[in-house]
Assembly symmetry: C2
Homo-oligomer: 160 residues x 2
Amino acid sequence: MANGAQKERVSGSLTAGSLTARLQAAVRERGQRWTEQRQLIVDVLAASDGHATGAELVERVRQDDPSATPSTVYRTLDLLEELGLARHHHGPDGRETYHLEETTEHGHLHCRGCGAEQELDAAAAAPILKAITGATGFSADLDHLSLQGLCATCRADQKG
Amino acid sequence: MANGAQKERVSGSLTAGSLTARLQAAVRERGQRWTEQRQLIVDVLAASDGHATGAELVERVRQDDPSATPSTVYRTLDLLEELGLARHHHGPDGRETYHLEETTEHGHLHCRGCGAEQELDAAAAAPILKAITGATGFSADLDHLSLQGLCATCRADQKG
DNA sequence: CCCCTTATTGCAACGTGTTGCGATAGAATC
DNA sequence: GATTCTATCGCAACACGTTGCAATAAGGGG
């Protein structure tokens, strides 16, 4: 087995109130513990509902609790990913970007011409994922899909 | 303008002997200089013809020239990318991997089940790239395409 | 409520890249 | 080959993440 930890999904309808309780239960079931820091990190992640880099999250957590260290934040983010609550992917520069799983699953397109970043929702991605499976037998994770290339506008500009 | 430097392709038929001469000419045309370190870095990159991480390249260069520093190696790799000779992409862990442009352009598939890494050649990728363009108008760079997901074998295992 | 086990934390050090700056050394010109 | 201009180099410091280890604290059992 290559997978260390089992993934048990926690999410579902993530109403703010029940989220903590659910997480707490899920964590305890795994023989792990619920701490104030973990609570805080979940709160911060939920508050920055778009995308946030690891460094940004660390900074925001430390605003509320200066005693928190990067290692704790990153370890907690890893835990949240194992629980299926958070996700991360790597931008074109290789830096990590995190977001809550409750955000609709989506891919990322990064244009090397104008630097624009656009999201790719499940519907738009469906034919792409199908093509990938058809060509390779591979079932790609939409959430880890991060493409680089030229957007339609920049392609037109280049031709002109 | 988002693009800092113009990209002028250097490659073509990269016979070992002429490569250096061509590079040297291309570099000088840009008002830049050809140095022993750059020569060495090109040699190392050519010798490790598959994929090598930035750190690996730094280490190999330092074996031949201990005075070389990481900053020089990385700056040279950037230059080689601008010249179109080298390429890099980010693995699932975000680390950089470099390879010579002469290597056939290809994407990467990383299986989160068994950890296997497989390459995706241009022919196999064609329908995928077409699907991407169809769904998004986006012209994706095959060489920067790094997918994560489950390979056919692991998908079958999961069902069993 | 206290004790015990051990998961979690903070720290310190490391790994991988990046950046600013003064010193060095290409290479074009004389 | 000496001079001059400036690109490149090495260094030192930084940014982002990761890891090992000893101290702390969560939380289950007596």
